[in-house]
Symmetry: C2
Subunit: 251 residues, 2 copies
Amino acid sequence: MINPDAPQTGVRAVDRALDILLCFSRSETGLSLSEIAREVGLHKSTVHRLLTSMLSKGFVRKQPGTDKYVLGWTILELIHNVYHSDELTTAVLPVMTRLRDATSETVSLYIRSGTERIRIQAVESMEPVRNVATIGKTYPLYVGASGKVLLAYADAETLEQVLADPSIPADFSREDLLTQLENIRKDGYAISVQERDSGAAALAAPIFGRHRFVAALSVSGPVTRFTQSKMSEYIEVVRESAALITKLLSH
Amino acid sequence: MINPDAPQTGVRAVDRALDILLCFSRSETGLSLSEIAREVGLHKSTVHRLLTSMLSKGFVRKQPGTDKYVLGWTILELIHNVYHSDELTTAVLPVMTRLRDATSETVSLYIRSGTERIRIQAVESMEPVRNVATIGKTYPLYVGASGKVLLAYADAETLEQVLADPSIPADFSREDLLTQLENIRKDGYAISVQERDSGAAALAAPIFGRHRFVAALSVSGPVTRFTQSKMSEYIEVVRESAALITKLLSH
DNA sequence: TGAAGGTGTCCCGCCAAACGGAACGATGTT
DNA sequence: AACATCGTTCCGTTTGGCGGGACACCTTCA
């Protein structure tokens, strides 16, 4: 049961249907009807009826092999309206650009995708020597400031999968990572120096949506420009920018 | 009124709510309550009630300036589950890879974003001389095979905006483009030879989702390898691949 | 083999709650 | 000032959603 005290506003059936959709944003592997019913605290038959509506509209679908429900392709049809909506370009991008101007380093926006992270937006530094940011590119989660931010707010299952990743170097300290993740959750930012790329340093801070952690905002550049004093200055502006975007996202 | 004959299955309130959400995938600028009510053929008060539910869950939100409704940030939280879901990598990517192997040229998947197009997925050719495809990169709509496909299935407003684009070269024939778009809709594919890049040629075909046109699939490479006979061969395989993905998306 | 527990699906009687007409205040337009 | 159109709220009617229960189908124990 997610929400014991119902908001008691609007249409109940719709509230429940949307609750079901939100369940999917938490589980990556798909959900069975009974799991959903347990999660939202409703009778199986009720959930079944709601799901058939969403099924016929393509908002959810059944995985071919298993009988589990997953999000449907219709969501894809909504994406470019959200993802490239006016607000994301007229609200988030300016914040990123301002952050770039304040630090004169490359600014990136990452979301987690399974056990990887993907850069969904970037504003590059104007310096001749700079971090080149390709939108859409993916990186591991266990290295880099934004990777660790994404990991710090990921579910336990994802963390486990990442730690079990065979491509992690042998000398990588998992204990060290776990304490770092705790510090990130406590402090609200992450630092990485020469982790992903030798010669590069980065700072990152979490961005929260309406219901949960959404993305990581990072500033990255050549390690030579990230002096101790610059670093502490950047920490402030990155956290401010992330907080501003968080505020924008919860409108 | 979108759907005069209701499917009469599942929960009506949910069906209506999802219909409202689908309205947004068509209009890029946001919709007022009355517009939505007109579109789905319901009473204003009914739409208002449904919208308050979706508003409280963050599925829609009101634009700060105007009173228009637009899709909310909660949709973002669903995206990475769909966009990078197992199926998109285990279903669409293999089709793209097979197409790459059949043509030994670079294969790209584009969606339209306003008056541009963005490459959301790519499988590169293995040839030493090849079209290098960067995921996330954007291109204009009025040149290139996939650009024209995206334009052929875009709404009239977008087409108008694109034709009014001041960055279009002076010698560009808009009449020619319009007849090309008609042919694309008729034939189901587009060809471009040395349009976007000199020395490059491309073929593209439309991919349809459950409710509407979604994306364009393209094969591109050096024009020297796109002989007349190769061209007609590629047209077939591109259309087949696009049709296969369309089938997958409607599950 | 059969009992036990887990699925997903379907049916149906009851009554809560969704529907839409109507009215309201606020804006903007002729 | 009259008019049109907007978003919002209220309320009586009755419709359609609710969930208990039944069912068939699994797998897993005894």
